[in-house]
């Protein structure tokens, strides 16, 4: 199995897994969940580095560099702000 059908297979499984996982997140954590998910969507950086590193100085490379920059904002900013938020959540000490 290779190519498109293999990728679609992965897609199907991940979507089901995603639904199962996220359904268990309590309402109180929905904002950190969202910003954490946002950081994960910065995964595009992984695809972008291969495009930005060809050294060919053509348009595709510059598009890749742009994508690396934007996705890095997403990754670093997303994880840091989520961590900052989650640091506020405290249980009541009795």
């Amino acid at each position: 199995m290779s190519g498109a059908e293999y990728l679609l297979f992965i897609l199907m499984l991940s979507i089901f897994l995603g639904f199962e996982l996220i359904n268990k997140v309590p309402a109180t954590l929905h904002t950190p969940l969202m910003s954490g998910a946002n950081a994960i969507s910065g995964i595009t950086v992984v695809g972008a580095v291969a495009l930005a590193g060809t050294g060919s100085e053509n348009m595709a490379m510059w598009l890749g560099v742009g994508a690396v920059t934007l996705a890095s904002i997403n990754v670093v900013g997303g994880y840091m702000v989520t961590d900052r938020m989650l640091g506020f959540f405290k249980k009541k000490e009795d």
Binding site: M34, G42, V45
Partner: protein
């Protein structure tokens, strides 16, 4: 072991870490570590990607990462918790833009039809996410008006844009060497993002933000297909699923369908038939203090107004004074209170309110009859009894927090203007309701001074 295999194994490990991290987000006690696990997953994926042998020059990669990382770090540190919704909107948009660029860059002369379709999809979803999020950002930060912008012929214009996108996409797939079709699709996708979000009003933003969150994941997913990369597909679809679930929760909490939120808004609300009986009964800070001083069970119901007034810290102070006075204090949080899912929880957590004191709507409603005083701070539609009692009301059927069941209700409100949805609120006219007019922060400050 070849480097290609190592890269793939790295992606597998990172996917596992993402999944584990999301699982740990299921409880506030483990959530912070879960976020860390997810971040390590991202680091593993990036290192794996850098092993790619096609990379010959790291200069520009490093430059992009340093600049992007610095901007992200500064933004994450500087943002105030009240501005979280617009921050998330902005980050969503950047994620969409990155996927758009990756899809665009993936275009090569020997691309097959399947790849071309996925390139179009990543450009389309990425572009809509980018401009849609920028408009959402503008509305949330009030740089543009937060109201719904509608004009006659809007549906026709939107339909033409969609037709243009479909036509341009088809032409592009047939003539991939002609860049003009590609530019047309990019331009129209960006335009469509704007057109899709401008008609949606501020109060519906929790739905829009969740949906754009989902799109940013789906765009990464489509880009993953375009460049044949598993890591993007797995991570992108996890984010896509997360956004869709939040969207569903938000829609359910407003008793509206997604298409109703996206395409109609509350624009056609007629205000005639709600004849509200009773009169408005204002109360002074001093009298409110005497009632609170005698109370043994208080419920606080915050809304977007608390964020606007930046009142979360004084609310916490009042909570402490009440508790020292032997009173039990709980918070009732409606799912769509605020401008994004969980907005109120984050604000109160920042003010040191422990999370086990924050009750969801279904938990607080059965307890409401035992509550001596319910304090509504800057919330309106989420406590509107018309949703239960007035069948002609546009929000009829929406689940609300039943504050009127409490012995006494205090409503902290700036003036008698109606809420975002522009709907009359019969709560204000109930026998047991007292209105405490003024800025929420000042009113609560006044109560605190009475206590001390």
């Amino acid at each position: 072991m070849t480097t290609a295999l190592m890269t793939q194994l790295g992606y597998v490990i990172s996917a596992g870490l993402f999944i584990f991290g999301l699982k740990m987000l299921g409880s506030p006690a483990t959530a912070r570590r879960g976020n860390m696990v997810s971040a390590i997953g991202m680091l593993v994926a990036i290192i794996a990607a850098l092993l790619d042998q096609g990379i010959v020059d790291f200069t520009w990669i490093a430059a992009g990462m340093v600049v992007g990382g610095a901007v992200g770090a500064i933004a994450a540190r500087a943002v105030a918790m009240t501005s979280m919704p617009e921050m998330v909107a902005l980050f969503n948009g950047l994620g969409g833009a990155a996927s758009l660029l990756v899809g665009w860059a993936a275009l090569s002369p020997d691309a097959g039809v399947f790849t071309l379709v996925t390139i179009v999809l990543s450009i389309l979803i990425g572009g809509v996410t980018l401009t849609g999020s920028l408009v959402a950002y503008g509305k949330l930060s009030e740089t543009i008006g937060s109201g719904a912008i509608t004009f006659s012929g809007q549906q026709i214009v939107n339909s033409l844009v969609v037709l243009g996108i479909l036509g341009g996409a088809a032409m592009f797939c047939m003539n991939p060497t002609d860049p003009n079709w590609l530019y047309m699709v990019i331009g129209l996708a960006l335009l469509f993002g704007i057109m899709a979000v401008i008609p949606i009003g501020g109060a519906d933003m929790p739905v829009v933000i969740s949906l754009l969150n989902s799109y940013s994941g789906l765009a990464a997913c489509a880009a993953g297909f375009a460049i044949n990369n598993n890591a993007l597909i797995v991570a992108g679809s996890l984010v896509g699923a997360s956004g869709i679930i939040l969207t569903q929760i938000m829609c359910k909490a407003m008793n509206r369908s997604l298409s109703n939120v996206l395409f109609s808004g509350f624009a056609s609300v007629s205000s005639e038939e709600t004849v509200v009986e009773g009169e408005i009964k204002p109360i002074s800070v001093e009298d409110a203090y005497y009632v609170l001083e005698a109370a043994t069970n208080v419920a606080i119901i915050p809304g977007y107004g608390m964020a606007v007034a930046q009142a979360q810290h004084v609310v916490k102070e009042l909570t402490e004074l009440l508790e020292n006075n032997g009173c039990e204090v709980n918070f009732g949080i409606h799912p769509v209170a605020g401008r994004m899912p969980g907005h109120m929880n984050v604000l109160l957590a920042e003010a040191d309110v422990p999370y086990d004191q924050l009750l969801e709507m279904d938990e607080i409603n059965p307890r409401m009859e035992m509550v001596d005083v319910a304090i509504v701070i800057g919330a309106n539609d989420v406590v509107n009894p018309a949703a239960r009692e007035v069948e002609s009301s546009p929000i009829y059927g929406m689940p609300v927090i039943n504050v009127a069941d409490a012995r006494t209700v205090f409503v902290l409100k700036r003036s008698m203007a109606s809420g975002f949805a522009g709907i009359e609120n019969p709560l204000f006219y109930k026998d047991n309701t007292r209105m405490l007019f003024g800025d929420a922060k000042e009113s609560i400050g006044g109560l605190i001074r009475e206590f001390s």
